[in-house]
Homo-oligomer: 364 residues x 4
Amino acid sequence: MGSSFGKNFRVTTFGESHGGAVGVILDGCPPKLKINIDLIQNELDRRRPGQSKITTPRNEDDKLEILSGLKEGITLGTPIAMMVRNKDQRPGDYSNLEQVFRPSHADGTYHLKYGIQAGSGGGRASARETIGRVAAGAIAKQLLKNLFNTEILSWVKRIHDIDSQVNKNKLTLSKIDSNIVRCPDDKVAAKMIKRIKELQQDGDSCGGVIECLVKNVPSGLGMPVFDKLEADLAKALMSLPATKGFEIGSGFLGTYLRGSEHNDSFIESDDISKLKTISNNSGGIQGGISNGENIEMKIAFKPTATIGKEQKTVNADGKEVLMKAKGRHDPCVLPRAVPMVDSMVALVLADHLLLHQAQCSIIK
Amino acid sequence: MGSSFGKNFRVTTFGESHGGAVGVILDGCPPKLKINIDLIQNELDRRRPGQSKITTPRNEDDKLEILSGLKEGITLGTPIAMMVRNKDQRPGDYSNLEQVFRPSHADGTYHLKYGIQAGSGGGRASARETIGRVAAGAIAKQLLKNLFNTEILSWVKRIHDIDSQVNKNKLTLSKIDSNIVRCPDDKVAAKMIKRIKELQQDGDSCGGVIECLVKNVPSGLGMPVFDKLEADLAKALMSLPATKGFEIGSGFLGTYLRGSEHNDSFIESDDISKLKTISNNSGGIQGGISNGENIEMKIAFKPTATIGKEQKTVNADGKEVLMKAKGRHDPCVLPRAVPMVDSMVALVLADHLLLHQAQCSIIK
Amino acid sequence: MGSSFGKNFRVTTFGESHGGAVGVILDGCPPKLKINIDLIQNELDRRRPGQSKITTPRNEDDKLEILSGLKEGITLGTPIAMMVRNKDQRPGDYSNLEQVFRPSHADGTYHLKYGIQAGSGGGRASARETIGRVAAGAIAKQLLKNLFNTEILSWVKRIHDIDSQVNKNKLTLSKIDSNIVRCPDDKVAAKMIKRIKELQQDGDSCGGVIECLVKNVPSGLGMPVFDKLEADLAKALMSLPATKGFEIGSGFLGTYLRGSEHNDSFIESDDISKLKTISNNSGGIQGGISNGENIEMKIAFKPTATIGKEQKTVNADGKEVLMKAKGRHDPCVLPRAVPMVDSMVALVLADHLLLHQAQCSIIK
Amino acid sequence: MGSSFGKNFRVTTFGESHGGAVGVILDGCPPKLKINIDLIQNELDRRRPGQSKITTPRNEDDKLEILSGLKEGITLGTPIAMMVRNKDQRPGDYSNLEQVFRPSHADGTYHLKYGIQAGSGGGRASARETIGRVAAGAIAKQLLKNLFNTEILSWVKRIHDIDSQVNKNKLTLSKIDSNIVRCPDDKVAAKMIKRIKELQQDGDSCGGVIECLVKNVPSGLGMPVFDKLEADLAKALMSLPATKGFEIGSGFLGTYLRGSEHNDSFIESDDISKLKTISNNSGGIQGGISNGENIEMKIAFKPTATIGKEQKTVNADGKEVLMKAKGRHDPCVLPRAVPMVDSMVALVLADHLLLHQAQCSIIK
């Protein structure tokens, strides 16, 4: 259990990092949606290992195969199964890990929970698992784009202590993808890349913050009281590997404001269905339901646990051992996490779109 | 939809703030659990309005009625229905709100989503809805306490800009409850209370941060890849009214560390099932699964949206109006949110306990 | 677990037969539906004990209380909680049952599963549990009636070996309710009533078959491959107490036909969305999806297990004992099961209506 | 939606009959289960087309590929993905069907629901979809066999009007598989085979009844009130293609008995956990919970809708057309449906085993 997400637009993923394949079944996608398959492959390429000098050198082309659910590029309304074969597996690299628990990695807890572990690499705990999420997310994005022109834009806001300020009004996907670290401020990006390389050479790693902006969000999405939109977004994003924190709208900083400062005033409008607010401390969601304003979120990613430096740890017998990770790993997960964030947000919005349609569109 | 939480230990809540009653059905609770009903009532008293000078004056005794599922205080394994009657309803107070959208409140989005709203008050968006959560959470707490001596302790860490530092080793429930703001540092608590009163007199409000510590957590809880323990905790807590952020372990601050600084080293041990780590940046969860260390979280609560000050807003016709809230409301939600946080954490842990039992206890 | 039904139009029931109350939460009902509360009470009256000489004499008025989810009779889109207090409890009647397992009743299996049992009566295994289903079903019926003029008509087709033939074209609810056994053929009904009374006087019981006809079913309902419409109807009806068999359309008898005899030929039509077939062996469902024809089902109910005659059985220690049931019970469950069948069918159709709306209405 | 089954032991299937592949993800399987992969392939061979002269001649070897979830044949507790490539696709055979609705087939209803159809063949409505069910069911069978020595035996009881009587005490899998029609009475089997061939030559088809016996069932499985064991079995079996009826225990025939005749008397026993009954009209389930006796069921399968004979029907424009099916199809689905029934029963029991473990094993 635990490998499915969503209620009406529902994905189920499979695959270990060094097994035969990784993939996903997407069940519940509306029929008659025209899919641009290149856009799916493009998202996979954005999360592909080996895409630049600051990512893991594992060499995978991550070529998508669609097994079902489409007819001449149109969705049938039946499950869409998608798969990527694992190619560049090097189980040997991890042979010394099988009985050693990497600090702050999932090795120890998988062992505690299941009493058995994938033969090598991170198994399901590897970011390789996110291929299925990204493939399905790319379909969700197209659904939202086609129906509402919804645009989901995530970027690297901060790496280690190198922060950026971005003009959200001018932000575009091509601007984000214009450099390998995916920070739309080129000058700051250069500093970030330098820092990542330095830490990598030092056998170390770093984390940071990804920010996400969603434009043209339909209002009315979200189901109080437990399936509030921000609650499902929080779950979706905190289910990504290495995440440690989530903020919506004003986040932790907003708690320093008074109510009179924090409240977002509505702007007079003839069309109540398109209400706008002057400020957006709410981050586009009020009472668990989207209000039509931009959704704004921040997600904290910890420094990669697997590092080249020698560390003390224990093996499966509880004995202390020294270890230096030999497997290929990212010195910083954030550049490749950007499409993962996009995808999880798209999956949440697509699911809530169908849930809202189910309950609230039938009686006029 | 949206009013159920959990998979195997599953709660469904009902009730508007000014309707006949609020309550919950808890389905899936193990049979043969001895319930201390006073402990349930005690948790309801901790979240009760009118409990102190810094909470809303609405006068509800919130007396619990258990309708099913118990026999002489022992669980039958059948649904446990619990209910609290609403008593001190004053729909009149809200008569001017019915067609006016309070800024940053749920009035506008409920209107957009459902096209109809509860007659007065916040309806399901009111914190009154959390009574069902707290009642069910009090049973979850007893399940965890009885089986593993698990203790869930939440407290007010910060109000507005008044921060506290707490010695977690010495923390107790009675220490937390020793003052009305539920900050276990009495000196800081006094300042917090003063601040809340000042803002209240000013017709304003404030927010802050609640911290939560869970001790004696069984290891192995959490279901990768989507139902990771921190993902479900994030969802649970971000489903509480007024939340804007969530952190597990090192949170956003941890992203300033290098991997070599952030990693939690394991301590040599004869019993691998009771592995400990030197530091706990992971916050008790690695790879989405509890490792047996303390779980540590922080949750951001925004300043209360409903304030006494006059604000500009719009009505249901989109026209600008001025409003001053007359309904009773909390100038700061955090003191009463403490038992809500406790409860949501207990519900997540109890659910994952049963889910883990289902999958991982049957083959030795 | 096990007390919830439906995915998007979802009910959760609670309550033991001799506890404080029985009831239901209905979550996911569309907002803005005008509810006729008398129609809900009317359905409860149709399943009420003590309604005639051939039902259990337990005296309950089963007066409905609605606790949430409505505003002036209109649905809010929030959970609708409904409850009936238990009044005429006589735990004493069952004191000799607590340690004795009635043959073919749930006493033994509840004991095996939970290791504890409700103090008296059938607990959750009592037909009293169906009050929540019937109340929620009465709302589902109104939703379907208002939107599609859908009509659900169930009646007693056979009691013991007394069979009836009914002209389905002329069938009405008032015709069904025109006699206490709910068989719309008055002459046959009189024989059935006589038989039930004879068996009752003999300390015995009987079963039979209920037939159900649904007219004006929207086409397109049902979700292959597991949630086919007939599969969910089968589950719904086989979850009612005392059911032993389910048939859709031609059922078991249809298996004696050749394909060329069994196939339902389509009739030429200008409007493909309103396709009709000459015969209806399919029972209104093909490939798991409604085709717009009438849905036709039959459900087998076994003779009531609790009888007045002395029977050999065992107690909770496994020792043989003789027993004569003293509790009040129905000599034949079918007359009161008619509204239960109606309700379960309505719940399935309402759920599939919303599920279909979610997936198939958003892209034109 | 609709392609997942089970709560804790959960399968999700994918694939159209003439697409790239069909398969399944099984999520929630306990870790550390030793899987015999040959037994999975063996079950696929039992449902394989072209296995005998009385099945469709479509030539598929249905060679299983396992993509994830196992390590050296042991389950990891992670999703098990399994796939079979489609090979002998002949879309041309169906080119005349794309716009013609076969009577009593799913063509028309898929068109009504989705507004688009798989390019050829039955798409998801084809029995080819059941490959994923059978592969996952073969794992469920091994789980039950290993833990409780549970044995699931299904066989063809009746074809058209040719009925068999089977001595259930002597029944074995090899006896069932000893002839191509899977009726363990060889003399009757010969008659059945002859009948099927005759109808096939006549361009016609037939149906019949499959019976299922489950031995060594753990007691306590089933979750009242909606997820009763017989309710979930009914759903599981009525979700198979071509099913029209379901019976548990005494079924429809039992409704002709009096309560005193129908009740199953318990036999005195020292070990209450192994209670036996003299008769088994209950079919192994009482109050929705297994009592440890054999589970006995019957399932009605209609005659195959696709036949060689010319039939009148309509096309997608509603116009009358004459058609003769050219695609390869079974003249009688029952021989190949036997492993499908086995698998669905195994999936239900495995799921309820884990659900019972979750709720009822944790407090002693």
